[in-house]
């Protein structure tokens, strides 16, 4: 993984010192909240419903054991013993006192972490495929490019005050696990002959006006990528709306101009860049960054592993976990392991300090010191030998993080909702927990197969409800929580925005209604290989809407 150089280390520690001064002035009353707010947001500090929240960047979701241990220590010493992993592959601490935050940031800087650009109208953490560098179906590793984008966008003076926040995602496999079509810019790595390049999608997003990104360029060669991104950002910076917060995202600009006109403006801007402005990345620099992401030296092992096979026979729970939570690896005899942070009845994405310590230990002991955060709020050990799975499983089980549900119906994306968030209109976590209870039976879940339920507690859509196969949106009606159901969303290469099924439901009615929808799918599917989302596409939404609103 990337390691800070002298320059990185200096700018991060200088920022901590600067923020310490700002916090001190806020605490003395010298800075008013209105003055302080933009400063704290630039350092990832929000003021939530009942506490400050610190959002720490985990670049493209990758961290090592030392970093995860440090996050655990911060959770233990400055928070209430847990952290929340987010859909931007970051972590949030929910209870940190403002007076302690400079110390927390200093502690993070020691392990090459920070909270810069995790909030505010700037380019946020670039996200990626959580199996990057490991997945069998991967064509190219997107992480070096995420890192190049991170270096380019961090403290970029031209893009520090954009009309609105800006999110970029990069994927290097045909199957899109990074939801690139619902990002401000989504980059899909492609190869033409010997030239590596990017398919560029612009103007996707969720929130109150969901849009799928438009294809703006089919191929931008890698050496031209940063100049092309800069051209997009300049068009957005110039023409993006600043008069209305709700129309300020680039998706509105692309939608209002149309993809053709937007593309024309980007090309014009690109052509107008003067020679001395061009970044035109030299191959040596591209190679230098790639060297940080050299794959670990894995020894291929062909055929079944005895210990692994034996435990599958002996322990049915292990066999189930192995069926569900493992992902094919490039190197024979290896897999990527998903550590589900979605235990039945838990809060999606939360991990205690002890659980973080366990994962750090496992990564260091068995998994080449590499840990990923997925945008679905789980953790991943990307490089694991089959022979080590029994030991890893035992430790995960002891730590309470061996739930076998990756991409199953109980593996929901759930925002913090009104239990934590100052913007939320309704609670998300308890609704998610109630839905999980209905589908808790492991055989039932496995029979249902891959089905993504995503829940947001307000229209800002942090819980990605628009792209859930089933989406749940919490709304407030005169002080009472209601939940609107959407059907047919998806976040992968066939991305789609879900359709609202009808009137909102009371919280208590949601689990039963979803069970009727899911059982309708089980009745109507051609066979078990047809996923919920495929049956929905084949038959249309009507039978499922009927089931949703059928009386018990």
């Amino acid at each position: 993984m990337y390691r800070y150089d002298e320059f990185d280390a200096r700018i991060v520690s200088e920022r901590v010192a600067q923020f310490r001064g700002q916090v001190n002035r806020r605490l003395s009353g010298e800075l008013l909240e209105d003055e302080f707010k933009p400063l704290r947001l630039q350092n990832g500090v929000y003021l939530q419903l009942h506490a400050y929240m610190l959002r720490v960047a985990i670049p493209y979701g990758q961290l090592n054991g030392r970093q995860l241990r440090r996050l655990a220590v911060i959770a233990r010493d400055y928070d209430r013993g847990y952290g929340h992993f987010t859909t931007r592959q970051n972590i949030q601490f929910n209870w940190v006192a403002l007076k302690d935050i400079p110390d927390v940031l200093e502690s993070l800087a020691e392990v090459e972490m920070h909270a810069i650009q995790t909030s505010g109208n700037c380019i946020r953490n670039t996200t990626s495929d959580h199996f990057a560098g490991a997945a069998k179906d991967e064509i190219m590793d997107p992480r070096p490019w995420c890192e190049i984008i991170r270096q380019w966008s961090t403290f970029h003076p031209e893009f520090a005050f954009l009309p609105r926040k800006f999110k970029i995602a990069v994927t290097g496999a045909d199957h899109d696990r990074a939801a690139i079509r619902v990002h401000d810019i989504g980059l899909h790595m492609r190869q033409r002959g010997d030239v590596v390049g990017f398919e560029v999608h612009v103007g996707g997003g969720q929130g109150r006006t969901p849009h799928l990104a438009a294809l703006v360029s089919e191929f931008v060669p890698e050496t031209e990528l940063l100049d092309y991104l800069e051209a997009i950002m300049r068009v957005y910076n110039r023409f993006g709306r600043r008069d209305n917060k709700y129309k300020a995202r680039i998706k509105i600009l692309v939608s209002e101009l149309g993809a053709d006109e937007f593309r024309r403006l980007v090309r014009e801007e690109y052509a107008a860049q003067r020679e001395h402005e061009k970044i035109a990345l030299p191959q040596e620099e591209i190679a230098r960054i790639h060297a940080y992401f050299a794959p670990p030296e894995l020894i291929p092992a062909s055929g079944p592993n005895e210990a692994f096979e034996a435990l599958k026979v002996e322990d049915k729970e292990f066999a189930r976990w192995a069926r569900i939570n493992l992902h094919p690896h490039k190197v024979d005899g290896h897999v990527s392991v998903t550590i589900s942070l979605k235990p039945i009845g838990g809060a999606a994405g939360d991990a205690t300090d002890a659980q973080m310590m366990t994962v750090a230990h496992l990564a260091e002991t068995y998994a080449h010191d590499d840990i990923r955060v997925s945008h679905a709020q789980n953790l991943v050990l990307p490089h694991v030998a089959l022979k080590d799975l029994p030991d890893i499983y035992r430790e995960l089980k002891a730590a309470g993080i061996a739930t076998a549900n990756e991409s199953l119906i109980t593996d929901m994306i759930v925002c913090p909702g009104l239990d934590y968030c100052n913007l939320a209109n309704a609670r998300s976590i308890p609704v998610g927990q109630a839905v999980q209870q209905v589908f808790a039976d492991p055989d039932y879940q496995e029979d249902i197969g891959r089905l993504h339920i995503n829940i947001s507690g307000c229209i800002n859509a942090c819980g990605h409800h628009h792209v859930g196969h089933i989406g749940i949106l919490g709304v407030d009606r005169k002080g009472e929580e209601f939940y609107q159901i959407t059907l047919g969303g998806r976040a992968d290469e066939k991305a789609a925005i879900g359709d609202i099924a009808g009137p909102g439901l009371k919280a208590d009615d949601v689990p039963g209604a979803l069970k009727r929808v899911v059982d309708t799918y089980r009745d109507l599917r051609t066979d078990k290989s047809e996923l919920f989302i495929e049956t929905l596409a084949r038959l249309g939404h009507e039978p499922f809407k009927e089931a949703l609103y059928a009386a018990d």
Binding site: E33, H50, A51, R80, Y82, L98, A347, N425, G479, E481
Partner: protein, 101 residues
């Protein structure tokens, strides 16, 4: 800063609430004008007195952040349109978290 802050009539009993600047914890103004973290100490104000109390709170920037009115009963109990939000602000999340989850 909250997404919804309903306007309250002058005669509606209201409390002054805010976030403690140093910690971010929820605080309310007690009857003597001091800040309390005990929901049982929430004081209800009306009319001009309420406005004066809020004005006073707004002057205490280093101590509290973003003070505002919330609806309460005459005895200071949380009530009204924002009952759920204010109850969560007072009591914390409605779900278990951390080790107890």
């Amino acid at each position: 800063m909250t997404s919804v802050r309903p306007k309250l009539k002058p005669e509606t009993p209201k409390a002054v609430t805010a976030w403690e600047t140093a910690t971010g914890q929820t605080v309310w103004m007690a009857a003597d004008g001091s800040w309390t973290k005990e929901a049982g100490q929430i004081a209800a104000f009306t009319g001009d007195e309420a406005e004066a109390r809020l004005a006073d709170a707004l002057k205490q920037e280093g101590v509290v952040t973003d003070p505002y009115f919330m609806e309460v009963t005459e005895s200071g109990g949380i009530t009204g349109r924002e009952t759920l939000r204010e109850t969560i602000r007072a009591n914390g999340p409605t779900v278990a978290y951390g080790e107890s989850a």
